[in-house]
Point group: none
Chain length 340, copies 2
DNA sequence: TTGTAGTGGGACATAATTTGTCTATGGTGG
DNA sequence: CCACCATAGACAAATTATGTCCCACTACAA
């Protein structure tokens, strides 16, 4: 079933939208019948004429009839509506949620995989696979891909395959190592990604939490400068989103900063930036590499984060995320996000 | 599953049309790749611009790529096409049509390929491929395969591959040359088949339309006799079905016979036999080789014929065809056959 | 080597369709 | 009877699809 839909979606990307639109109309007619076009239009938020085109179509299909007093379902339309009800419940699961999420978060696209990373670690693999699939669709020709750290990104690295190898890829860490376990560091991850796709990568190790003076001198190093240029000219950024407190704890964060984060109600973290519920930056780890402002110039941004527990973090980061962002998440996070 | 398709048919008939269009384009590209827009347009009967819009779309979806030398499927497009194959069969109810056809014609099996040979010459290739695939399934060990002439059989010959070569095959013309263009003669075709499968063949050239006296003397020739024995012991027969009048015209048929065929309402032709709508033999070309009665003893009989225009001919021949016959046809012919 | 026939992509005027908006007309219910 | 809400019709504006060129490029054959 799902496969059928997936197949069709490739050739008819707006299939579900149209289906949903017509379903909504049909359902509302069933609900309000007999009903006039105008009141139906306002009730659905369509303009009259758009609704009318659809209504004319439904009339042609003999799913509804229209007379002086309004439009009603035919018996055939009624049957179809009942069938649709079941179908929609299945579909609504993911696809409509994706659309809804996309609109609510104001981003380019949302991809939802079934399950909840909090409950089953297998779901993280699904997330990774979805991310890899999306990358494959977006990449063509030469690409510089900046990646961040985190366990989610580590999973993504494992999911990449040499299928992408016919494109010319270069992986770079998006920012200097922001103190995590070595397995989850950006350097490690970009290296694994390059290995799994049979492509190249650059390492970029600079101590995090540098003082402004050291920062200034480091940035003059030619090698570092070169990698920095690569990062800023990246065509794709891959990043995770973390829960602020969890991330801060995982890093060797000083008590003062910890307190600062708590006082400012930080909930989300990405790229070493911490955000409160409104999406304001409340703290940033000073390190070399991609800065939040640089994101705007990067055409493809993929954020990967799942699990009910991460919903708040995702929402906070997305408050100010670039509108070109593609979010890859799971059902658990999505439901929580849509509930709020 | 079926319910989903049914729902779509009622609620999204317009989209399904688009789906079909894109599927056709994808399929043709797969077949003709690398192919240019213009030749593809003429081959599909679309105007260039319409095709172009669709092609642009497919390119955006990364299902095809275009370079200087033409358009080709990406690996992703290839995968999708394979998946679509199954989807379209269900959508068009092709499997159901196959069963229905089998029952109506009273034969062992019907195989339907999408498209209409009358409209696109590429469909003939599909027919051929289907025939080759079916042969592959039926053959094992030593086999003598008797083949007839005709353009369809010529296409089948082209579709054969050395995959079959691990079986021991011997191709023989089913009947003495029944005066056609040399490219479409049974001798030529069996020779090409043997070449393409890396196996052996026997030639069997005897003048057609022989007089009874010559017939009697020819049949005593040891070489001819030997081939005749081979033919009668064939384990498989491959034959086409022709439109009676078209076939008669293509052969150097005398005016008297022409008149006879017209008066007796001949519509179908196979093996040099002409049939009316009821399936009665109304004329036969007197030539040496397989006779209609011999068919009953042959275990595998594959009839290949497609195109709306051939539906009547197919029906007429099938009225008396052996029940072990497997018909390989196309959507165009199948729909016409089922309509009547 | 040149010529030719094929390729994709750009451009653009025109046709077709969609869309927003308004009007005419006619039942319905109080 | 009258106000109200209904559909259908109409139509210009906006948008999109379409037909038809042209151009630069390349593979390939002569």
């Amino acid at each position: 079933m799902q496969s059928f839909i997936d197949i069709q979606k490739r050739l008819l990307p707006d299939l579900l939208q149209v289906l949903h639109k017509r379903y909504t109309i049909l359902r509302h007619i069933g609900f309000m019948q007999p009903v006039g076009r105008r009141s139906l239009a306002t009730s659905l938020g369509f303009t009259e004429r758009v609704l009318r085109s659809e209504v004319d179509f439904l009339k042609e299909q003999k799913l509804i009839t229209a007379n002086n007093i309004g439009m009603s379902l035919t018996s055939e339309g009624k049957n179809l509506l009942e069938d649709l009800e079941g179908l929609m419940r299945e579909l609504k699961g993911m696809d409509v949620m994706e659309l809804e999420l996309k609109h609510r978060l104001g981003i380019h696209k949302a991809v939802i995989v079934p399950g909840d990373s909090d409950e089953s670690p297998l779901v993280k693999n699904e997330l990774s696979k979805a991310c890899a699939a999306r990358m494959k669709r977006l990449l063509s020709g030469k690409n510089i891909i900046a990646v961040t750290g985190g366990s989610t990104m580590a999973a993504v690295a494992d999911a990449l395959t040499p299928e992408l190898t016919n494109e010319e890829l270069l992986f770079v860490p998006a920012r200097g190592g922001i103190g995590e376990d070595v397995h989850n560091q950006a350097n490690t991850i970009s290296s694994i990604m390059s290995k799994n796709t049979h492509s190249r990568h650059r390492v970029f190790y600079v101590p995090d939490q540098v003082s402004p003076e050291i920062y200034a001198s480091l940035i003059k190093e030619p090698e570092i400068h070169e990698v920095l240029d690569l990062i800023k000219s990246a065509s794709m950024v891959l990043h995770g989103i973390g829960d602020a407190i969890t991330m801060a704890e995982r890093r060797k964060t000083s008590p003062e900063v910890m307190e600062k984060l708590e006082n400012s109600n930080a909930v989300g973290e990405a790229f070493g930036y911490y955000f409160n519920e409104k999406g304001d930056i409340v703290h940033k780890v000073l390190t070399i590499g991609l800065q939040l402002d640089d994101l705007a110039k990067i055409p493809n941004i993929i954020a990967v984060a799942g699990g009910t527990s991460k919903a708040k973090a995702i929402r906070s980061y997305m408050k100010q995320a670039p509108s070109s962002t593609i979010l890859i998440t799971d059902e658990g996070a999505a439901r929580k996000l849509l509930k709020g």
